[in-house]
Symmetry: C2
Subunit: 148 residues, 2 copies
Amino acid sequence: MKWDDLAAQPCSVARTAAVIGDRWTLLILRDCFLGVKRFADFQARLGIARSIVTARLNLLVEEGVLTRQPYQALPARYEYRLTDKGMDLHAIVLAIVAWGDRWQSGPEGPPHWRRHKACGCDFTPMTVCSVCSEVVTARDVEIRENLG
Amino acid sequence: MKWDDLAAQPCSVARTAAVIGDRWTLLILRDCFLGVKRFADFQARLGIARSIVTARLNLLVEEGVLTRQPYQALPARYEYRLTDKGMDLHAIVLAIVAWGDRWQSGPEGPPHWRRHKACGCDFTPMTVCSVCSEVVTARDVEIRENLG
DNA sequence: GAGGTTGGTCTCGAAAAGAGACTGATAAGG
DNA sequence: CCTTATCAGTCTCTTTTCGAGACCAACCTC
């Protein structure tokens, strides 16, 4: 199976993987949420080949996750910003961070703390049911196919 | 930067990406949560080369996300099951599904529905603050480094 | 006009993906 | 018995993609 077939599958995991299922894309998104916007900054922070940065940013723009906007005309300079679709990826990034904090960090604890501005407390993200607001784990979910 | 350097970075996104930041790994995890356990089933559902299935399953076992357990002695047959660490990835998969349902599915709607067993309703997962239980978006979060 | 900044592209060797044949132990069917 | 099937892989070989580093072009500052 190839990349393009992936996006065509009737599965939201596959379709999402076609966009973000790649180490560098994930790290670029992380940096986006940290406020990074310019080509050179992405490249410097990741320490990877420029051609890869170009390829990934282009993919994300194509997918509508980022926009490429000129912030200066002469010479032409661009910055990459999250669209609404991109901002909505925050839940995924947050879930990834939470798992990494819990299972992949050493005795020195997680490398970053996250504070919820509204309540002023450090928090860990939790996944809840949109209907009853209870916490949802793997065992609480029953999956049904959409035959429509 | 290489895969191994990734895991060593002081960033939970990077460390998690080192485990699941790959198309196939993500799809294998999806299948795990759907109850798939055997080598041949993973291979058939994904339609990818056996060698890749082997490599990915081994990685996940090494990382402690899956266990490889014999379910039959003669001939030796194994099955792959999620550990607690693996079960905890459910929040990530759920967030990925939710995003894919919302942004990557066509007019026919999402390919699957998820019902919360506890309340009996179809739901979408939401990310909330562990302290105040309010929904958290990208703009609600302030990040601080752990200098300890 | 030397050197720096920004946002790329080009080239080429290395790594990974992917197809498919092969293995080895066992069981089931005729 | 002999054939075929199951299961969990391994091995080989070709194609594709990654990734590092050099190069380029337009502008700016000193």
